[in-house]
Protein backbone atom coordinates (compact mmCIF):
# COMPACT_ATOMS: atom_id res chain seq x y z
CA UNK A 1 0.00 0.00 0.00
CA UNK A 2 1.11 3.52 -0.71
CA UNK A 3 0.51 6.71 1.18
CA UNK A 4 -2.34 8.81 -0.22
CA UNK A 5 -1.70 11.72 2.13
CA UNK A 6 1.67 12.67 3.58
CA UNK A 7 2.13 15.62 5.89
CA UNK A 8 5.75 16.55 6.53
CA UNK A 9 6.99 18.87 9.25
CA UNK A 10 3.88 21.00 8.92
CA UNK A 11 3.78 24.24 10.90
CA UNK A 12 1.07 26.88 11.02
CA UNK A 13 1.44 30.05 13.04
CA UNK A 14 -1.28 32.64 13.55
CA UNK A 15 0.79 35.60 14.68
CA UNK A 16 2.43 34.40 17.88
CA UNK A 17 0.15 31.40 18.27
CA UNK A 18 1.51 28.16 16.94
CA UNK A 19 -1.56 26.07 16.05
CA UNK A 20 0.37 23.29 14.36
CA UNK A 21 4.03 22.77 14.96
CA UNK A 22 6.20 20.32 13.12
CA UNK A 23 3.39 17.86 12.64
CA UNK A 24 3.78 14.61 10.68
CA UNK A 25 0.91 12.45 9.51
CA UNK A 26 0.96 9.66 6.95
CA UNK A 27 -2.29 8.12 5.71
CA UNK A 28 -2.20 4.90 3.70
CA UNK A 29 -4.60 4.51 0.78
CA UNK A 30 -7.70 2.57 1.79
CA UNK A 31 -7.13 3.08 5.50
CA UNK A 32 -9.44 4.75 7.94
CA UNK A 33 -7.32 7.14 9.89
CA UNK A 34 -8.44 8.76 13.12
CA UNK A 35 -7.12 12.06 14.42
CA UNK A 36 -7.77 12.60 18.07
CA UNK A 37 -6.57 15.00 20.68
CA UNK A 38 -7.86 17.36 23.33
CA UNK A 39 -9.76 20.52 22.40
CA UNK A 40 -7.51 23.11 20.80
CA UNK A 41 -4.94 20.51 19.79
CA UNK A 42 -5.07 21.78 16.19
CA UNK A 43 -7.13 19.03 14.60
CA UNK A 44 -9.49 21.27 12.64
CA UNK A 45 -6.60 23.56 11.74
CA UNK A 46 -4.92 20.51 10.25
CA UNK A 47 -8.01 19.86 8.08
CA UNK A 48 -8.11 23.50 7.04
CA UNK A 49 -4.47 23.24 6.01
CA UNK A 50 -5.04 20.05 4.02
CA UNK A 51 -8.03 21.55 2.19
CA UNK A 52 -6.25 24.82 1.44
CA UNK A 53 -8.34 27.18 3.58
CA UNK A 54 -5.12 28.04 5.42
CA UNK A 55 -1.67 28.18 3.86
CA UNK A 56 1.06 26.34 5.76
CA UNK A 57 3.77 28.48 7.38
CA UNK A 58 6.28 25.69 6.93
CA UNK A 59 6.27 22.10 5.77
CA UNK A 60 4.64 20.21 2.97
CA UNK A 61 1.37 18.38 2.26
CA UNK A 62 1.40 15.73 -0.46
CA UNK A 63 -1.73 14.13 -1.89
CA UNK A 64 -1.01 11.02 -3.96
CA UNK A 65 2.61 12.04 -4.07
CA UNK A 66 1.94 15.55 -5.39
CA UNK A 67 2.54 18.59 -3.24
CA UNK A 68 -0.73 20.47 -2.74
CA UNK A 69 0.36 23.00 -0.15
CA UNK A 70 -0.50 26.52 -1.28
CA UNK A 71 -3.16 25.35 -3.76
CA UNK A 72 -6.53 27.11 -3.64
CA UNK A 73 -9.30 25.22 -1.79
CA UNK A 74 -11.42 24.65 -4.90
CA UNK A 75 -8.49 23.11 -6.73
CA UNK A 76 -7.67 20.74 -3.88
CA UNK A 77 -11.32 19.65 -3.72
CA UNK A 78 -11.28 18.93 -7.45
CA UNK A 79 -8.12 16.83 -7.02
CA UNK A 80 -10.23 14.44 -4.95
CA UNK A 81 -10.23 15.67 -1.37
CA UNK A 82 -13.77 15.91 0.03
CA UNK A 83 -14.55 17.18 3.48
CA UNK A 84 -17.30 17.89 5.97
CA UNK A 85 -17.28 20.62 8.57
CA UNK A 86 -17.47 20.55 12.34
CA UNK A 87 -20.18 23.22 12.29
CA UNK A 88 -22.29 21.98 9.40
CA UNK A 89 -21.88 24.15 6.32
CA UNK A 90 -24.76 23.27 4.07
CA UNK A 91 -26.34 25.83 1.77
CA UNK A 92 -29.37 26.09 4.01
CA UNK A 93 -31.71 27.98 1.70
CA UNK A 94 -31.02 25.56 -1.14
CA UNK A 95 -32.74 22.21 -1.49
CA UNK A 96 -31.13 18.93 -0.52
CA UNK A 97 -30.79 18.04 -4.19
CA UNK A 98 -29.18 21.35 -5.08
CA UNK A 99 -26.60 20.94 -2.34
CA UNK A 100 -25.51 17.66 -3.86
CA UNK A 101 -25.77 18.94 -7.42
CA UNK A 102 -23.35 21.79 -6.81
CA UNK A 103 -20.71 19.30 -5.72
CA UNK A 104 -21.61 16.92 -8.55
CA UNK A 105 -21.18 19.78 -11.03
CA UNK A 106 -17.44 19.12 -10.85
CA UNK A 107 -18.18 16.05 -12.98
CA UNK A 108 -20.08 18.00 -15.64
CA UNK A 109 -18.10 19.26 -18.57
CA UNK A 110 -19.55 22.07 -20.62
CA UNK A 111 -18.46 25.62 -21.30
CA UNK A 112 -20.30 28.79 -20.23
CA UNK A 113 -21.22 29.43 -23.87
CA UNK A 114 -22.77 25.98 -24.19
CA UNK A 115 -24.79 26.71 -21.07
CA UNK A 116 -25.93 30.18 -22.19
CA UNK A 117 -27.03 28.94 -25.61
CA UNK A 118 -28.36 25.59 -24.32
CA UNK A 119 -26.36 23.44 -26.70
CA UNK A 120 -26.97 19.70 -26.67
CA UNK A 121 -24.04 18.68 -24.46
CA UNK A 122 -25.37 20.98 -21.75
CA UNK A 123 -28.87 19.50 -21.76
CA UNK A 124 -27.60 15.94 -21.59
CA UNK A 125 -25.18 16.67 -18.76
CA UNK A 126 -27.84 18.45 -16.70
CA UNK A 127 -30.35 15.65 -17.10
CA UNK A 128 -27.82 13.01 -16.06
CA UNK A 129 -26.76 15.10 -13.10
CA UNK A 130 -30.24 15.18 -11.55
CA UNK A 131 -30.61 11.42 -11.93
CA UNK A 132 -27.15 10.70 -10.55
CA UNK A 133 -27.65 12.98 -7.54
CA UNK A 134 -31.00 11.43 -6.64
CA UNK A 135 -29.35 8.03 -6.87
CA UNK A 136 -26.57 9.19 -4.59
CA UNK A 137 -29.10 10.44 -2.02
CA UNK A 138 -30.88 7.07 -1.94
CA UNK A 139 -28.59 5.15 0.46
CA UNK A 140 -28.52 8.18 2.76
CA UNK A 141 -32.29 7.98 3.11
CA UNK A 142 -32.58 11.50 1.75
CA UNK A 143 -34.08 10.85 -1.67
CA UNK A 144 -37.60 11.50 -0.40
CA UNK A 145 -36.56 14.85 1.02
CA UNK A 146 -34.60 15.83 -2.10
CA UNK A 147 -36.74 18.92 -2.67
CA UNK A 148 -36.85 20.09 0.93
CA UNK A 149 -34.63 22.93 2.02
CA UNK A 150 -31.41 21.65 3.52
CA UNK A 151 -31.84 23.95 6.51
CA UNK A 152 -35.17 22.30 7.36
CA UNK A 153 -33.67 18.82 7.78
CA UNK A 154 -33.18 17.41 11.27
CA UNK A 155 -29.64 17.65 12.58
CA UNK A 156 -28.67 14.04 11.95
CA UNK A 157 -29.86 14.22 8.35
CA UNK A 158 -27.91 17.43 7.81
CA UNK A 159 -24.75 15.59 8.88
CA UNK A 160 -25.56 12.81 6.44
CA UNK A 161 -26.29 15.27 3.66
CA UNK A 162 -22.90 16.87 4.17
CA UNK A 163 -21.27 13.49 3.70
CA UNK A 164 -23.42 12.82 0.61
CA UNK A 165 -22.42 16.19 -0.77
CA UNK A 166 -18.74 15.50 -0.23
CA UNK A 167 -19.16 12.14 -1.99
CA UNK A 168 -20.71 13.84 -5.02
CA UNK A 169 -17.23 15.22 -5.70
CA UNK A 170 -16.13 11.60 -6.24
CA UNK A 171 -13.24 12.05 -3.83
CA UNK A 172 -10.47 9.53 -3.09
CA UNK A 173 -9.92 11.01 0.33
CA UNK A 174 -12.72 12.08 2.62
CA UNK A 175 -12.04 14.23 5.66
CA UNK A 176 -14.75 14.10 8.32
CA UNK A 177 -14.64 16.71 11.06
CA UNK A 178 -16.47 15.30 14.09
CA UNK A 179 -19.17 13.38 12.19
CA UNK A 180 -20.70 12.16 15.45
CA UNK A 181 -20.81 15.55 17.18
CA UNK A 182 -24.06 15.95 19.07
CA UNK A 183 -25.12 12.33 18.62
CA UNK A 184 -26.04 9.92 21.40
CA UNK A 185 -24.54 6.45 21.84
CA UNK A 186 -27.14 4.69 19.70
CA UNK A 187 -26.84 7.20 16.87
CA UNK A 188 -23.07 6.99 17.05
CA UNK A 189 -23.19 3.22 16.69
CA UNK A 190 -25.42 3.59 13.61
CA UNK A 191 -23.04 6.17 12.20
CA UNK A 192 -20.08 3.83 12.72
CA UNK A 193 -21.79 1.14 10.64
CA UNK A 194 -22.80 3.71 8.06
CA UNK A 195 -19.28 5.10 7.69
CA UNK A 196 -17.95 1.58 7.32
CA UNK A 197 -20.42 1.02 4.50
CA UNK A 198 -19.54 4.35 2.87
CA UNK A 199 -15.84 3.55 3.01
CA UNK A 200 -16.26 0.11 1.43
CA UNK A 201 -18.91 1.06 -1.09
CA UNK A 202 -17.14 4.15 -2.42
CA UNK A 203 -13.63 2.72 -1.83
CA UNK A 204 -12.44 5.72 0.07
CA UNK A 205 -9.67 6.64 2.37
CA UNK A 206 -11.25 8.20 5.44
CA UNK A 207 -9.61 10.62 7.80
CA UNK A 208 -11.77 11.57 10.72
CA UNK A 209 -11.55 13.85 13.70
CA UNK A 210 -13.68 12.51 16.51
CA UNK A 211 -14.16 12.67 20.23
CA UNK A 212 -16.33 9.56 20.53
CA UNK A 213 -13.66 7.01 21.45
CA UNK A 214 -15.98 4.14 20.73
CA UNK A 215 -16.35 5.19 17.11
CA UNK A 216 -12.65 5.90 16.67
CA UNK A 217 -11.47 2.64 18.21
CA UNK A 218 -14.02 0.59 16.26
CA UNK A 219 -13.60 2.14 12.86
CA UNK A 220 -10.02 3.30 12.51
CA UNK A 221 -7.09 1.27 11.23
CA UNK A 222 -4.59 3.81 12.49
CA UNK A 223 -4.80 6.77 14.82
CA UNK A 224 -2.75 9.94 15.15
CA UNK A 225 -2.87 11.79 18.44
CA UNK A 226 -2.30 15.54 18.42
CA UNK A 227 -1.60 17.73 21.40
CA UNK A 228 -0.59 21.39 21.23
CA UNK A 229 -0.24 21.06 17.45
CA UNK A 230 2.24 18.22 17.65
CA UNK A 231 1.96 14.54 16.86
CA UNK A 232 2.46 12.79 20.18
CA UNK A 233 1.59 9.29 19.06
CA UNK A 234 0.65 7.30 15.99
CA UNK A 235 -0.35 3.67 15.71
CA UNK A 236 -3.12 1.09 15.70
CA UNK A 237 -6.02 1.54 18.14
CA UNK A 238 -4.44 -1.04 20.47
CA UNK A 239 -1.11 0.77 20.50
CA UNK A 240 -2.79 4.11 21.13
CA UNK A 241 -4.87 2.67 23.96
CA UNK A 242 -1.72 1.43 25.64
CA UNK A 243 0.43 4.50 25.00
CA UNK A 244 1.23 6.22 28.30
CA UNK A 245 1.75 9.64 26.67
CA UNK A 246 -1.72 9.53 25.15
CA UNK A 247 -3.31 8.51 28.40
CA UNK A 248 -1.54 11.35 30.13
CA UNK A 249 -2.30 14.03 27.55
CA UNK A 250 -5.68 13.08 26.33
CA UNK A 251 -7.54 10.50 28.28
CA UNK A 252 -6.15 11.93 31.49
CA UNK A 253 -6.81 8.71 33.34
CA UNK A 254 -10.58 9.02 33.07
CA UNK A 255 -12.58 6.02 32.02
CA UNK A 256 -14.03 6.14 28.54
CA UNK A 257 -17.73 5.49 28.07
Amino acid sequence: MSAILEIDHLTKRFGGLCAISNCDVKVEAGDTHGIIGPNGAGKTTLFNLITGIYKPTEGDIRFRGESISGFRPGRIALKGVGRTFQNIRLLKSQTVLENVRIAFDSQLHYSPLEAMLRLSRFGRAEKNSVAACLELLEPFGLADQAHDLAGDLPYGSQRKLEIARALALKPDLLLLDEPAAGMNTGETADLTEFLRWVRDHFQLTLVLIEHHMHLVMNLCDRITVLDFGQTIAEGTPEEIRANPRVIEAYLGGTEEE
Partner: protein
Protein backbone atom coordinates in the same frame (compact mmCIF):
# COMPACT_ATOMS: atom_id res chain seq x y z
CA UNK B 1 -58.92 33.82 -9.96
CA UNK B 2 -55.86 32.67 -8.11
CA UNK B 3 -56.10 29.13 -9.47
CA UNK B 4 -56.56 30.51 -12.98
CA UNK B 5 -53.40 32.58 -12.63
CA UNK B 6 -51.66 29.54 -11.23
CA UNK B 7 -52.60 27.30 -14.12
CA UNK B 8 -51.53 29.98 -16.60
CA UNK B 9 -48.22 30.30 -14.76
CA UNK B 10 -47.67 26.54 -15.02
CA UNK B 11 -48.52 26.43 -18.70
CA UNK B 12 -45.32 25.59 -20.56
CA UNK B 13 -46.39 26.95 -23.94
CA UNK B 14 -47.64 30.27 -22.58
CA UNK B 15 -44.21 31.91 -22.58
CA UNK B 16 -43.27 31.23 -26.21
CA UNK B 17 -46.75 32.40 -27.24
CA UNK B 18 -46.36 35.58 -25.21
CA UNK B 19 -42.93 36.23 -26.68
CA UNK B 20 -44.23 35.73 -30.21
CA UNK B 21 -47.25 37.95 -29.52
CA UNK B 22 -45.06 40.62 -27.97
CA UNK B 23 -42.73 40.61 -30.93
CA UNK B 24 -45.65 40.78 -33.37
CA UNK B 25 -47.09 43.71 -31.41
CA UNK B 26 -43.73 45.49 -31.42
CA UNK B 27 -43.44 45.03 -35.19
CA UNK B 28 -47.01 46.24 -35.66
CA UNK B 29 -46.27 49.37 -33.63
CA UNK B 30 -43.38 50.02 -35.98
CA UNK B 31 -45.50 49.85 -39.12
CA UNK B 32 -48.84 51.25 -37.99
CA UNK B 33 -49.63 54.28 -35.83
CA UNK B 34 -50.86 52.24 -32.84
CA UNK B 35 -48.90 54.06 -30.17
CA UNK B 36 -47.89 57.68 -29.95
CA UNK B 37 -44.19 58.54 -29.70
CA UNK B 38 -44.41 59.11 -25.97
CA UNK B 39 -45.85 55.66 -25.22
CA UNK B 40 -43.30 54.07 -27.48
CA UNK B 41 -40.41 55.73 -25.67
CA UNK B 42 -41.87 54.61 -22.34
CA UNK B 43 -42.09 51.02 -23.61
CA UNK B 44 -38.51 51.14 -24.88
CA UNK B 45 -37.42 52.51 -21.51
CA UNK B 46 -39.22 49.67 -19.75
CA UNK B 47 -37.33 47.23 -21.97
CA UNK B 48 -33.96 48.87 -21.30
CA UNK B 49 -34.67 48.84 -17.59
CA UNK B 50 -35.57 45.15 -17.68
CA UNK B 51 -32.19 44.44 -19.29
CA UNK B 52 -30.39 46.56 -16.69
CA UNK B 53 -32.29 44.96 -13.85
CA UNK B 54 -31.82 41.36 -14.96
CA UNK B 55 -28.11 41.86 -15.59
CA UNK B 56 -27.47 43.55 -12.26
CA UNK B 57 -29.47 40.84 -10.53
CA UNK B 58 -26.83 38.34 -11.62
CA UNK B 59 -24.20 40.04 -9.46
CA UNK B 60 -26.32 41.60 -6.70
CA UNK B 61 -29.03 38.97 -6.46
CA UNK B 62 -27.71 35.59 -7.48
CA UNK B 63 -24.12 36.17 -6.37
CA UNK B 64 -25.06 38.31 -3.36
CA UNK B 65 -22.51 41.05 -4.00
CA UNK B 66 -23.38 44.72 -3.93
CA UNK B 67 -22.29 46.47 -7.09
CA UNK B 68 -23.24 50.13 -7.47
CA UNK B 69 -21.32 50.54 -10.72
CA UNK B 70 -23.90 49.32 -13.17
CA UNK B 71 -24.44 52.80 -14.63
CA UNK B 72 -20.72 52.74 -15.47
CA UNK B 73 -21.17 49.72 -17.72
CA UNK B 74 -24.21 51.38 -19.18
CA UNK B 75 -22.09 54.46 -19.96
CA UNK B 76 -19.40 52.33 -21.61
CA UNK B 77 -22.01 50.58 -23.76
CA UNK B 78 -23.70 53.86 -24.63
CA UNK B 79 -20.53 55.66 -25.66
CA UNK B 80 -18.97 52.68 -27.46
CA UNK B 81 -22.09 52.19 -29.55
CA UNK B 82 -22.49 55.93 -30.13
CA UNK B 83 -18.95 56.13 -31.50
CA UNK B 84 -19.77 53.21 -33.77
CA UNK B 85 -23.02 54.68 -35.10
CA UNK B 86 -22.00 58.34 -35.39
CA UNK B 87 -18.37 58.04 -36.48
CA UNK B 88 -17.48 54.63 -37.85
CA UNK B 89 -20.43 52.95 -39.50
CA UNK B 90 -22.45 54.09 -42.51
CA UNK B 91 -26.19 54.14 -42.01
CA UNK B 92 -27.59 50.65 -42.62
CA UNK B 93 -29.78 47.98 -41.08
CA UNK B 94 -26.77 46.54 -39.27
CA UNK B 95 -25.79 49.81 -37.65
CA UNK B 96 -27.77 49.23 -34.45
CA UNK B 97 -27.08 45.50 -33.90
CA UNK B 98 -23.37 46.04 -34.47
CA UNK B 99 -23.36 49.09 -32.22
CA UNK B 100 -25.16 47.19 -29.46
CA UNK B 101 -22.83 44.20 -29.68
CA UNK B 102 -19.81 46.51 -29.65
CA UNK B 103 -21.20 48.39 -26.66
CA UNK B 104 -21.79 45.17 -24.77
CA UNK B 105 -18.35 43.88 -25.71
CA UNK B 106 -16.55 46.99 -24.46
CA UNK B 107 -18.50 46.87 -21.19
CA UNK B 108 -17.72 43.15 -20.77
CA UNK B 109 -14.03 43.81 -21.37
CA UNK B 110 -13.99 46.37 -18.57
CA UNK B 111 -16.10 44.10 -16.35
CA UNK B 112 -13.29 41.55 -16.38
CA UNK B 113 -10.74 43.47 -14.24
CA UNK B 114 -13.54 44.39 -11.84
CA UNK B 115 -14.17 40.66 -11.40
CA UNK B 116 -10.49 40.19 -10.55
CA UNK B 117 -10.85 42.76 -7.78
CA UNK B 118 -13.80 40.83 -6.39
CA UNK B 119 -11.48 37.88 -5.61
CA UNK B 120 -9.91 39.84 -2.81
CA UNK B 121 -12.76 41.97 -1.52
CA UNK B 122 -16.36 41.31 -0.71
CA UNK B 123 -19.42 43.09 0.59
CA UNK B 124 -19.12 46.76 1.50
CA UNK B 125 -15.56 47.02 0.25
CA UNK B 126 -16.46 45.72 -3.18
CA UNK B 127 -19.34 48.22 -3.21
CA UNK B 128 -16.80 51.02 -2.67
CA UNK B 129 -14.64 49.66 -5.48
CA UNK B 130 -17.58 49.60 -7.89
CA UNK B 131 -18.43 53.15 -6.81
CA UNK B 132 -14.87 54.20 -7.59
CA UNK B 133 -15.15 52.44 -10.94
CA UNK B 134 -18.29 54.42 -11.72
CA UNK B 135 -16.54 57.70 -10.90
CA UNK B 136 -13.52 56.76 -13.02
CA UNK B 137 -15.69 55.95 -16.03
CA UNK B 138 -17.65 59.18 -15.69
CA UNK B 139 -14.66 61.47 -15.31
CA UNK B 140 -12.75 59.63 -18.03
CA UNK B 141 -15.56 60.26 -20.51
CA UNK B 142 -15.77 63.89 -19.40
CA UNK B 143 -12.14 64.34 -20.37
CA UNK B 144 -12.14 62.66 -23.76
CA UNK B 145 -12.84 65.33 -26.37
CA UNK B 146 -13.30 62.68 -29.08
CA UNK B 147 -16.66 61.86 -27.52
CA UNK B 148 -17.53 65.47 -26.74
CA UNK B 149 -16.36 65.55 -23.13
CA UNK B 150 -18.95 67.00 -20.77
CA UNK B 151 -21.01 68.29 -23.70
CA UNK B 152 -21.96 64.75 -24.68
CA UNK B 153 -22.81 63.17 -28.01
CA UNK B 154 -25.82 63.10 -30.27
CA UNK B 155 -26.14 59.59 -31.68
CA UNK B 156 -28.82 58.87 -34.26
CA UNK B 157 -32.16 57.52 -33.04
CA UNK B 158 -32.03 53.87 -34.07
CA UNK B 159 -33.50 51.91 -31.16
CA UNK B 160 -36.91 50.64 -32.15
CA UNK B 161 -39.48 48.70 -30.17
CA UNK B 162 -38.80 45.40 -31.99
CA UNK B 163 -35.05 45.70 -31.39
CA UNK B 164 -35.59 46.50 -27.73
CA UNK B 165 -37.93 43.56 -27.38
CA UNK B 166 -35.43 41.32 -29.14
CA UNK B 167 -32.65 42.30 -26.73
CA UNK B 168 -34.89 41.90 -23.69
CA UNK B 169 -35.69 38.35 -24.78
CA UNK B 170 -32.03 37.56 -25.52
CA UNK B 171 -30.92 38.95 -22.14
CA UNK B 172 -33.51 37.04 -20.13
CA UNK B 173 -32.93 33.84 -22.09
CA UNK B 174 -29.16 33.90 -21.72
CA UNK B 175 -29.18 34.86 -18.04
CA UNK B 176 -31.85 32.29 -17.27
CA UNK B 177 -29.83 29.56 -19.03
CA UNK B 178 -26.74 30.60 -17.13
CA UNK B 179 -28.52 30.68 -13.79
CA UNK B 180 -29.89 27.15 -14.22
CA UNK B 181 -26.54 25.64 -15.16
CA UNK B 182 -23.59 24.52 -13.09
CA UNK B 183 -22.24 28.06 -13.34
CA UNK B 184 -25.43 29.52 -11.91
CA UNK B 185 -25.39 27.01 -9.08
CA UNK B 186 -21.77 27.93 -8.42
CA UNK B 187 -22.68 31.64 -8.33
CA UNK B 188 -25.49 30.96 -5.86
CA UNK B 189 -23.22 28.77 -3.73
CA UNK B 190 -20.76 31.67 -3.46
CA UNK B 191 -23.55 33.86 -2.14
CA UNK B 192 -24.57 31.33 0.48
CA UNK B 193 -21.18 30.23 1.77
CA UNK B 194 -17.93 30.74 -0.08
CA UNK B 195 -15.97 28.31 2.12
CA UNK B 196 -18.51 25.55 1.60
CA UNK B 197 -18.56 26.33 -2.11
CA UNK B 198 -14.80 25.83 -2.23
CA UNK B 199 -15.06 22.52 -0.41
CA UNK B 200 -17.67 21.45 -2.96
CA UNK B 201 -15.18 21.97 -5.77
CA UNK B 202 -16.76 25.17 -7.06
CA UNK B 203 -14.35 27.13 -9.24
CA UNK B 204 -15.03 30.35 -7.37
CA UNK B 205 -12.87 32.61 -9.54
CA UNK B 206 -14.27 31.30 -12.79
CA UNK B 207 -17.82 31.81 -11.49
CA UNK B 208 -17.12 35.36 -10.33
CA UNK B 209 -15.55 36.32 -13.64
CA UNK B 210 -18.47 34.84 -15.51
CA UNK B 211 -21.04 36.65 -13.39
CA UNK B 212 -19.30 40.03 -13.70
CA UNK B 213 -18.54 39.75 -17.40
CA UNK B 214 -22.06 38.60 -18.32
CA UNK B 215 -23.63 41.25 -16.12
CA UNK B 216 -21.50 44.03 -17.57
CA UNK B 217 -22.05 42.83 -21.12
CA UNK B 218 -25.80 43.23 -20.80
CA UNK B 219 -25.34 46.46 -18.87
CA UNK B 220 -23.46 47.67 -21.94
CA UNK B 221 -26.20 46.40 -24.23
CA UNK B 222 -28.78 48.37 -22.28
CA UNK B 223 -26.57 51.46 -22.45
CA UNK B 224 -26.20 51.08 -26.21
CA UNK B 225 -29.97 50.86 -26.67
CA UNK B 226 -30.38 53.84 -24.35
CA UNK B 227 -27.91 55.93 -26.37
CA UNK B 228 -29.75 55.34 -29.64
CA UNK B 229 -33.14 56.31 -28.27
CA UNK B 230 -32.47 59.59 -26.51
CA UNK B 231 -30.91 61.74 -29.20
CA UNK B 232 -28.38 62.81 -26.66
CA UNK B 233 -26.07 61.28 -24.09
CA UNK B 234 -23.69 62.99 -21.71
CA UNK B 235 -21.56 61.71 -18.81
CA UNK B 236 -24.03 63.13 -16.30
CA UNK B 237 -26.72 60.68 -17.44
CA UNK B 238 -24.64 57.84 -15.99
CA UNK B 239 -23.99 58.89 -12.44
CA UNK B 240 -24.69 57.34 -9.07
CA UNK B 241 -28.34 58.37 -9.34
CA UNK B 242 -28.73 56.14 -12.39
CA UNK B 243 -27.07 53.25 -10.53
CA UNK B 244 -29.38 53.83 -7.59
CA UNK B 245 -32.40 53.69 -9.87
CA UNK B 246 -31.30 50.28 -11.16
CA UNK B 247 -30.65 49.10 -7.61
CA UNK B 248 -34.12 50.21 -6.54
CA UNK B 249 -35.70 48.28 -9.39
CA UNK B 250 -33.69 45.14 -8.58
CA UNK B 251 -34.55 45.13 -4.88
CA UNK B 252 -38.14 46.19 -5.55
CA UNK B 253 -38.67 43.28 -7.94
CA UNK B 254 -36.75 40.87 -5.75
CA UNK B 255 -33.24 39.46 -5.71
CA UNK B 256 -32.30 36.26 -7.50
CA UNK B 257 -35.43 36.35 -9.64
CA UNK B 258 -35.75 37.20 -13.32
CA UNK B 259 -39.51 37.44 -13.00
CA UNK B 260 -38.87 39.91 -10.20
CA UNK B 261 -36.53 41.94 -12.40
CA UNK B 262 -39.25 42.30 -15.02
CA UNK B 263 -41.86 43.26 -12.44
CA UNK B 264 -39.52 45.70 -10.68
CA UNK B 265 -38.50 47.41 -13.92
CA UNK B 266 -42.10 47.69 -15.16
CA UNK B 267 -43.54 49.00 -11.89
CA UNK B 268 -40.76 51.53 -11.32
CA UNK B 269 -40.69 52.88 -14.88
CA UNK B 270 -44.46 53.11 -15.23
CA UNK B 271 -44.95 54.64 -11.78
CA UNK B 272 -42.37 57.28 -12.60
CA UNK B 273 -44.43 58.24 -15.66
CA UNK B 274 -47.88 57.91 -14.10
CA UNK B 275 -46.91 60.15 -11.20
CA UNK B 276 -45.58 62.82 -13.61
CA UNK B 277 -48.59 65.14 -13.09
CA UNK B 278 -47.73 65.35 -9.39
CA UNK B 279 -44.63 67.37 -10.22
CA UNK B 280 -42.24 67.67 -7.31
CA UNK B 281 -44.57 65.55 -5.16
CA UNK B 282 -43.63 62.60 -7.33
CA UNK B 283 -40.35 62.31 -5.50
CA UNK B 284 -42.25 62.15 -2.23
CA UNK B 285 -44.88 59.65 -3.28
CA UNK B 286 -42.58 57.26 -5.13
CA UNK B 287 -40.11 56.72 -2.28
CA UNK B 288 -43.06 56.37 0.08
CA UNK B 289 -44.48 53.57 -2.05
CA UNK B 290 -41.06 51.91 -1.99
CA UNK B 291 -40.79 52.19 1.78
CA UNK B 292 -44.25 50.67 2.24
CA UNK B 293 -43.44 47.88 -0.16
CA UNK B 294 -40.23 47.05 1.66
CA UNK B 295 -42.11 47.01 4.96
CA UNK B 296 -44.63 44.48 3.73
CA UNK B 297 -42.36 42.59 1.38
CA UNK B 298 -38.81 42.91 2.68
CA UNK B 299 -37.40 40.54 0.06
CA UNK B 300 -38.99 42.45 -2.79
CA UNK B 301 -41.99 41.34 -4.76
CA UNK B 302 -40.47 38.09 -6.06
CA UNK B 303 -37.40 37.74 -3.83
CA UNK B 304 -35.74 34.30 -4.18
CA UNK B 305 -38.73 33.00 -6.13
CA UNK B 306 -39.13 32.56 -9.83
CA UNK B 307 -41.95 32.52 -12.32
CA UNK B 308 -42.44 28.85 -13.28
CA UNK B 309 -42.15 29.94 -16.91
CA UNK B 310 -38.51 30.71 -16.45
CA UNK B 311 -37.61 27.41 -14.83
CA UNK B 312 -36.28 24.89 -17.32
CA UNK B 313 -38.54 21.84 -17.52
CA UNK B 314 -36.01 19.62 -15.72
CA UNK B 315 -35.98 22.05 -12.76
CA UNK B 316 -39.76 22.00 -12.30
CA UNK B 317 -39.89 20.16 -9.02
CA UNK B 318 -42.29 21.01 -6.31
CA UNK B 319 -40.35 23.79 -4.71
CA UNK B 320 -40.63 24.66 -1.06
CA UNK B 321 -41.52 28.21 -0.10
CA UNK B 322 -38.46 30.07 1.19
Amino acid sequence: MKSLLDSVARCRWALPVLVAAGFAYALACESFPILNDYSEVVLVTVGINIILCASLNLVNGYMGEFSVGHAGFMALGAYASAIMTTKWLPASFFELPLGVLFGGGVAALVGFPLALLSFKTRGDYLAIITLAFLMIVKSAIENISYVGGPRGMTPPVLTTLPWTFFWVVVTLWVIRNLVYSKFGRAITAIREDEIAANAMGVRVREAKILAFVTSSFFGGVAGALYAQVNFFIDPKSFDIVKSTEILVMVYLGGIASLGGSIIGAVIFTVLLQVLQPLGTWRMVILPLILVLLMLFRPRGIMGMRELPWFLPARELFKRPKP
